[in-house]
Symmetry: C2
Subunit: 313 residues, 2 copies
């Protein structure tokens, strides 16, 4: 077994940090590392935190961490910024606020920025979750910056997803697309002191009345004032309730998640294989398309017919 992995399983922080860097950099040993770690994963509860910019997600994560630490549970925090190839200054800045947690050996904090393709970022996030899981984190909080498509992809890796909104700032439910509302296991109306939160709760509850329940879980709608720790114990309790519920009802969701992961890993491997073979086995087709003698859709289908042993589209 890889020496770093051995140390990781003993709870060594530096090994955790180094393994995450290897994964982020897509190092050659990545596949081996993940294979070795896999049997030690599946224990942590992963909480995804998404929502509109300015909703106070970072403060919420801070206070939630403080709350969870009261139970002496080990917490991992992954802050993901998929929006910008500009440096992740804002997120790191936020994280500097977390002085209290930074010196707490029971909290492991990591920021992730844009690396490779976006699909790659969601996959890298899943892999980093696995490292922190094997590292022994009981709860892993995954915070994203905005609510774009990549954030939705990342939330697929969460066991419990919090959608954080504010009563103001244009977060009226009619402006929020279905994709966001559907992934919420718990709604959090943060900055509840701003006013208007009562109406927002009513609006979301009304919407939920009209929506079919997914597997019987009705997302609670909670109000918080994160910077004052108000509503945070109730939020943590709701997360634990959802965790317990999920344990009873997870079979279908888990299968779906595994299916998705397998398809993604296979697709990724095949992309590398195809890119290589386009310069070798299929160079004549590539040339034909480049010279516009053949359209790319027919060429692609031809290549699949020649390379894929299973059924065709």
């Amino acid at each position: 077994m890889n020496n770093l992995v051995e140390k990781l399983l003993q709870g060594d922080r530096r090994s955790a940090a180094r393994l995450i860097t290897l994964i982020e950099n897509d190092a050659p040993e990545k596949k081996d590392i993940l294979q070795q770690i896999y049997p030690y994963t599946g224990r942590a509860h992963v909480v995804g935190i998404t929502g509109s910019p300015g909703a106070g997600k970072s403060s919420l994560v801070d206070e939630l961490t403080r709350e969870i630490r009261r139970e002496v549970l080990k917490v991992g925090i992954i802050a993901v910024d998929p929006t910008s190839p500009f440096s992740g200054g804002a997120l790191l800045g936020d994280r500097i606020r977390m002085q209290e947690h930074a010196t707490d050996r029971g909290v492991f904090i990591r920021s992730m920025g844009t690396r490779g393709s976006l699909g790659g970022l969601a996959q890298a996030t899943r892999d980093v979750i696995r490292v922190l899981d094997a590292f022994g984190c009981d709860v892993i909080l995954v915070e994203t910056v905005g609510v774009g498509q990549s954030e939705l992809d990342i939330m697929h890796h969460a066991d419990t997803t919090l959608v954080v909104l504010t009563p103001q700032a244009g977060d009226h439910i009619q402006t929020i697309k279905a994709g966001i509302m559907e992934i919420a296991d718990i709604f959090v109306i943060n900055k509840a002191d701003l006013g208007g939160s009562g109406k927002m709760v009513t609006d979301i509850e009304t919407m939920l009345d009209l929506s079919p329940l997914v597997n019987g879980w009705r997302p609670p709608v909670l109000t918080t004032i994160a910077i004052d720790h108000q509503g945070i114990p109730e939020l943590w309790a709701a997360i634990k309730r959802h965790k317990a519920w999920r344990k009873e009802n997870k079979a279908g969701a888990n299968r779906e998640r595994v299916r998705r992961e397998l398809a993604e890993i296979i697709q990724r491997y095949l992309y590398q294989l195809i890119s290589r073979e386009l310069d070798e086995r299929f160079e004549h087709l590539l040339e034909k398309v480049a010279e516009r003698q053949l359209d790319p859709y027919s060429a692609a289908m031809d290549i699949i017919k020649q390379s894929w042993k299973g059924g065709l589209p």
Copy 2:
């Protein structure tokens, strides 16, 4: 041939709009449509416009359109917002400004929001470019909202990429990641009246002095005040210069682009095939991973060995 495609090739606007909608909705006839259109594409010059939020990209597109229309060329505008599943209100709002162009039969404007996966959005953008190309647009301006990874992906479809910055608003070149600087064929410092643009030009020129030229093209650094049309004729002249240069030097870039497109289309088809087969041929492996008896990386490799006739990773 599809009736809509026939009408498209005759320059019918409504057919263009309907074909784009079919493509965006991933309609079953999409593949046929794109195959039929393909031979009539490759004529338009595609200009990508990206840069930091608030850099005035929309105004720049407006004024560039006005400039191009002076030569009685047909212009297509595709405004892409990949950042948010929230409704594309902002972009559409911007577009309402374009009253002048909206009634101009020589300008076709289309907004695109997040649909399906992000890879999907970049691919959909390319397909919409093809429709407007076959429709007879001489120049297609593709404007993105921000500078995230998906914007970079979309810019791969441009023949000429403009990176738009402002002299203020934190756009100091040391904060701009390499990914952005490398895709620029032309730098545009917009809002040059804000002051500080001289220093910004010098900084970028210094950076270019230190960077190796890609195929011998050195990106010019232009200053504009889009809302006053200042610098716009010079920008259009620079785009035409780049177009001419590209014509002389495009062989390698074109091959790379075709390779990328083929790999993406194949990958997309295969993802559908794999997802289906995971419920059929490979259900036993899926079950094993779901029960954590097997790690997903080994399962993926096993499936590839059984399904892919070519070489392995």
